[in-house]
């Protein structure tokens, strides 16, 4: 008699254990609202140009524009593109050459086409007296989309006049601040 009752009793009890356990007052759709917003500070490029780099001692001619470039592979990475909402570039020049400079930053895509451009002028310094010029470029919106299709930056440094006896250094330090919003991608 007891046994007959017990089987359904245990069955029901097991069922209650499993069925009564529930997840309440939760809203998993909130997962869509999860946004990670890291702000990353990262060094970019740096250089140390000497005044003699602007004069070709073999050919005895001025070299008014010197140019170099590097890949920045992560810029056009698709995850980076989707998550980046703003980038702030900061350039610090220290100039002890008695000339003003024009410095241009050209961003190129993989087909070598220019997608974004920025530049600044650098104040002249003097021997033993480094003059600091700082330049900040904020990139967002439409410009950011263009910037993140590039994977290479070309740096051109232009001096108005040069000569064999010019002395001093032009140094660049730079960093970028990347503002991300990382969230679930629309499917």
């Amino acid at each position: 008699m007891k046994n007959n009752l017990l089987v359904p009793f245990l069955g029901i009890l097991s069922f209650i254990f499993i069925a009564s356990s529930c997840v309440k007052d939760t809203d998993f759709d909130q997962a869509q609202d999860i946004v990670l917003t890291p702000v990353v500070e990262l060094n970019l490029i740096h250089f140390d140009l000497e005044a003699e780099d602007f004069y070709d001692e073999v050919a005895m001619t001025e070299r008014l524009t010197v140019q170099d470039s590097t890949q920045i592979r992560f810029l056009d990475d698709s995850g980076f593109q989707e998550s980046l909402v703003r980038a702030e570039f900061f350039f610090r020049f220290k100039n002890s050459i008695p000339r003003d400079f024009d410095v241009a930053f050209q961003f190129l895509d993989s087909l070598q086409q220019q997608t974004y451009f920025t530049g600044t002028s650098v104040n002249q310094g003097s021997a033993g007296n480094e003059v600091v010029t700082e330049f900040t470029q904020n990139v967002e919106g439409e410009d950011l989309l263009l910037l993140t299709t590039s994977d290479r930056v070309v740096v051109s440094v232009t001096i108005p006049t040069s000569g064999p006896n010019l002395e001093g250094n032009l140094k660049l330090q730079s960093k970028a601040t990347y503002f991300f919003e990382i969230k679930e991608q629309e499917e």
């Binding site: 007052d25 010197v66 960093k175």
Partner: protein, 472 residues
């Protein structure tokens, strides 16, 4: 992400506290309690588990955070809640999951009084500690943490999938003492381990002499991951192929290890009984299909230095970016080793003391003259239990208070209150029914949270069916 959360929830829905089966421990009516203490008093003459149904156990638990903490309906923005939790949690908080499925379990009492038992079960065991610094870095970035070191050594995780073959003996050696031991043979199908890592990441503001504005430095990194059973899976394509391979290893295809369980029960007085067991005192020798990775070194990233080489129009310049990547790989090399390693199993310790009282059982309450005091049983008991398990960042412990009561001849119940790393309000209940030869048991803990599992740090449900043949 959403799917991950659902899988995670599914885990939680039928889960138990990390290997601590506090409800089953000492519950001698359930043959599986022999696996928690090989030296328990075994009342039956023989038993065998219904293959694949004799014990199913799955758990997942988190310390410091519940699903409700993050996904509960609230006026506070979910991102604020996540951020607060990240800062509230410590690097010693962890998420752990264990799942066991008993394939075979059997036992019988030999003529010399020894109760032999054996079987096969499959076990999956996983633990990951909360890498707090990395979580902060991922969530916030480094802008607000210039000059603050991030500890990369907080990464600590292990995972194992194995088949365990076991055989044990149990004997009541004297009126008061019962001893038992069990030999185990592990067949590891898959294993990984990354513990004892070191290193920091720091972004410092550069000084006058610095090449660039910041110095991003990885300092004294020494991080490693040991894997076995992974290298051969890596090149397979498709989940079905991987599943097939893993199942193929389930018998003796994997890396082999040995271990023992020992246990004892001692009757101090007629009413007071103590017991203790040490489980999985063993090692696995990973010799086949082993691959370990170790990254070490110190590296400072200054950014890319342009050298302006005098080159003609259209000529390529130096591959600065590749050079930087090469430099990083040179300074922080990742070595791949295939030498074997030995892995200690997480040792588990159980201990208990109990006091029995109430009505005598097994004698219908009348004269019990033939029973000369060696097996006086009462229908109620209270006691304390201790549980400990060795984990990468030290011993994890739990304490349990229990009340046991035999309700009818066929039905017993045990209620537990447990304090453990997950919570201090864990109430559990187990029921065992002996219906003729059929032995059915169900045990659940964290009952207070059953109304809303989202608020639980962990919950459990274990159940199984055995056939038991009682002593005449």
């Amino acid at each position: 992400m959403k799917y991950l959360i659902f899988i995670f929830m599914a885990f939680l829905l039928c889960s138990a506290f990390a290997q601590n089966k506090q409800v089953l421990y000492g519950l001698e009516q359930v043959p599986q309690s022999l696996l928690l203490n090989p030296g328990i008093n075994v009342p039956q003459k023989a038993h065998f588990g219904i293959p694949l149904f004799s014990q199913f156990h799955i758990n997942a638990g988190m310390t410091g955070v519940s699903v409700f903490d993050i996904f509960g309906e609230s006026s506070v923005d979910i991102n604020t809640r996540i951020r607060n939790k990240i800062f509230e949690l410590e690097a010693t908080d962890f998420f752990s999951a264990t799942q066991q499925l008993e394939i075979i379990n059997f036992g019988w009492r030999a003529r010399n009084g020894i109760y032999f038992s054996g079987g096969v079960y499959e076990e999956l065991d996983f633990i990951v500690y909360f890498p707090k610094d990395l979580a902060v870095l991922a969530y916030e970035g480094n802008q607000d943490y210039i000059g603050v070191p991030f500890d990369l050594g907080q990464i600590s995780t292990t995972g194992d999938l194995m088949t365990v073959f076991h055989f044990g003996a149990n004997k009541q050696v004297s009126e008061k003492l019962t001893l038992g031991a069990r030999a185990k043979l592990y067949s590891s199908l898959f294993s990984f381990k990354s513990t004892n890592n070191e290193g920091t990441f720091i972004t410092r503001e550069g000084d006058e002499d610095s090449e660039n504005i910041y110095e991003h430095t990885i300092e004294n990194l020494d991080a490693s991951v040991q894997t076995s059973g992974y290298a051969s899976l890596r090149d397979m394509d498709g989940a079905s192929q991987v599943t097939k391979e893993i199942l193929g290893r389930a018998l003796f295809g994997g890396n082999v290890g040995v271990g023992v369980d020992v246990g004892a029960t001692y009757k101090v007085t007629e009413k007071i009984t103590t017991s203790a067991s040490i489980l999985d005192l063993g090692v696995i020798f990973h010799t086949k299909d082993v691959e370990s990775y170790r990254a070490s070194g110190t590296y400072t990233l200054d950014g890319i230095e342009l050298l302006f080489p005098p080159i003609g129009e259209g000529e390529p310049t130096f591959p600065y970016y590749e050079d930087l990547e090469d430099e990083f790989e040179r300074e922080i090399p990742i070595d791949t080793l295939t030498s074997g390693y030995t892995q200690l199993r997480p040792v588990k310790v159980n201990a208990s003391v109990s006091y029995t009282f109430g009505r005598r059982i097994g004698s219908s309450g009348v004269c019990d003259c033939l029973n000369m005091g060696d097996d006086v049983k009462r229908n109620q008991a209270v006691g304390l239990q201790f549980y400990g398990i060795s984990r990468p960042k030290g011993l994890q412990m739990a304490g349990t208070f229990f009340y046991y009561r035999r309700l009818w001849d066929v039905l017993s119940a045990k209620a537990t209150y447990t304090v453990d790393p997950y919570s201090n309000s864990n109430v559990g209940l187990g029921l065992v029914a002996d219906l003729g030869k059929v032995n059915f048991y169900i045990a659940a803990d964290n009952l207070l949270r059953y109304g809303n599992l989202a608020k639980a740090n962990n919950v459990s449900l274990q159940l199984g069916i055995n056939i038991k043949i009682e002593n005449e």
